[in-house]
Symmetry: none
DNA sequence: AATGAATGAGATTTCATTCAT
DNA sequence: CATGAATGAAATCTCATTCAT
């Protein structure tokens, strides 16, 4: 049992890494097998097929991520604090766990569209964390009332996602995740606020 | 001569449509040929290979787009106006050519990273339009001095890109491109401004 | 009429050149068209297909070659003289007309086997020039009686053909056709003679 | 391990047979697969591509052949004996493995010239066996001093090669390899000797 | 459970040949 | 007659998946 799960994790972990590096369609199942140190066939003992690997990564890693966000956000007293914690948690994740970061990059954007019959409930859950913070901020009269949370959450997600991508792909040295986080708080944070704040 | 260019366009147009619908890796060259109403082989009279088709879409459409942005931005008097014009032009483009928008949003992001030997100079040119507006705004003392243009341009690009993607992929009806544009101006626009403005 | 034949020749000439350079299977019909300065389709006005080009080269050029040999050999008084004239004519041809030389190289060896329903009568005629010289030499008691003309003619053909190929393909500068000819006469010539000569 | 080599051999063997029958360019990879009793894709587990198959035949068989020649030639006391052993070995080889002989005779000549980036070191090694015998014969004063070994080796190679080709392609029944060998020894052997021998 | 050799469907690409202009 | 753009059949090669060991 224990053993079995270990091998499964090893494969999943390898898949994340390789998908992130080469993209879903350019990754051969054999690449993942090599990275995981198992035989090609072994992968099919744990996953139905290549698509299933992608979906599993998503499902399982997303659970971790959602759990982490929820735990951290509990400590906040208002939407403004929540937003900051959200950003900090996000960039901390990106910085600390390259592979987890790659899940965001690979999974949340890439290939998702083409795994036909799969709907990303967990991705919506994730997005709604942002959406909920916005709504809470509007209720608390901290954030502008005229914001459309539907669009605003996309703006925020897109902004941090792109900055993270750049940090991951680019010469990491261009800027630190800390700087990135501060910059996001400056622009997005201020952009959401009521005029008089 | 004339004829030749027409056929080329027809193929490019078909490619945009099919790539947008099915994704680059799920599109067969035969699909494009059928959509364009030509034989499979004909495509290879105009394009080196399937990759070249994607790259050509990017290069040629990007030229149009860059040209359009430059023309429109000329009319602006200051960075704040420029930013607004930039956003409006962007969402107008997205609204007017959905297939092209989709290829840019979904396919180029996914695939281009992995197309060998291809560097996205034009993408950098595009990004730098945003970067230049930010710098100009700082010079004009309209935008905050403490912004890092390198990060800020990514934040902006990511934000509008994601909103556009959502508009394209999503049920379209969730919001209009006009609303999206206004929302972006509200959040990003305000986020960049000096405190006293 | 005249015009028509000129274009036909131009194509045939181009085909010889390109086949010789790249080999039959690596030559595209378009290559020949370009070399001949005509359109691809034009070739099909003069030749049935690509195979027909190869066969036509063979038929027509072989007639020239056979005619030349016959004319020259008339002047010889005995088999020994004939053999020398044959060798000299051969290497003269090779030396003087690179394209004719290439016919030997390309046509007599290459691809011939795979043009299924085609039998090379003219190639046999050519080989029989050598065979006849050998038989005549045996009748004249100049050449050894125990030679098998069937095999001997192949030995001779193979020897000169290979030397010619080397001269054509190799750094032509390794040896001259004159040296080659002398060497052939030394080895083959002497090899055929009766002991006491 | 053992198994793996067996399959590789089976494919190589099948390739020799089919190339010999139909020619390199007329052979489909699927033909070889069928002959070898494996799936098309299996061939690509053992060989890079179709060219590699031809090159591998050449390289590997040439090694065997070179080894055989060297072993046999050791037993000779002088150049004259060496030459005879060389011829006998050559025609023995031709006689014993007709398919391989055919590939060497017909296919490598035709195709190899056009296989990119491939240099026939082993073919030169093979040619130099003849060249070395000639030089040794000259040193031993058995062969004529006025021979140019460069040309002479080509004459000899061409002669036996063509005789072998005729034996392979032709009606076999025209002559035996033994007869061919004797004929070659008669003509070439004698042609090389000093006058007084 | 694990392996990895084998499979074979399927995609890209080439190029001889045709035919409308 | 000549053109050369267009065709589409056919061949190579890849790689997700299977299955005997």
């Amino acid at each position: 049992m224990r053993r079995k799960q270990e091998k499964r994790s090893k494969i999943l972990f390898a898949a994340i890494k390789v998908f992130a590096q080469k993209g879903f369609y350019n990754t051969k199942v054999a690449d993942i097998a090599r990275e995981a140190g198992v035989a090609d066939g072994t992968i099919y003992l744990y996953f139905k097929n290549k698509d299933d690997l992608l979906i599993s990564i998503f499902e399982e890693k997303m659970d971790e991520i959602l759990g982490l966000f929820k735990a951290r956000l509990k400590k906040a007293n208002n939407a403004r604090e929540k937003l900051e914690i959200f950003f900090k948690t996000y960039f901390r994740l990106i910085n600390d766990d390259q592979d987890l970061a790659e899940v965001f990059q690979v999974e949340l954007r890439q290939s998702s569209k083409f795994l036909k019959d799969y709907h990303h409930q967990k991705f919506f859950d994730y997005l709604n964390i942002i959406g909920d913070i916005i709504k809470q901020g509007q209720n608390e009269k901290i954030f502008r009332q005229d914001l459309n949370p539907l669009i605003a959450k996309r703006i925020i997600f897109g902004a941090i996602d792109e900055v993270a991508r750049q940090w991951i792909l680019g010469a990491e040295s261009e800027f630190s995740t800390d700087e990135a986080c501060r910059e996001v708080i400056k622009i997005i944070g201020k952009g959401l606020l009521q005029n008089r704040n």
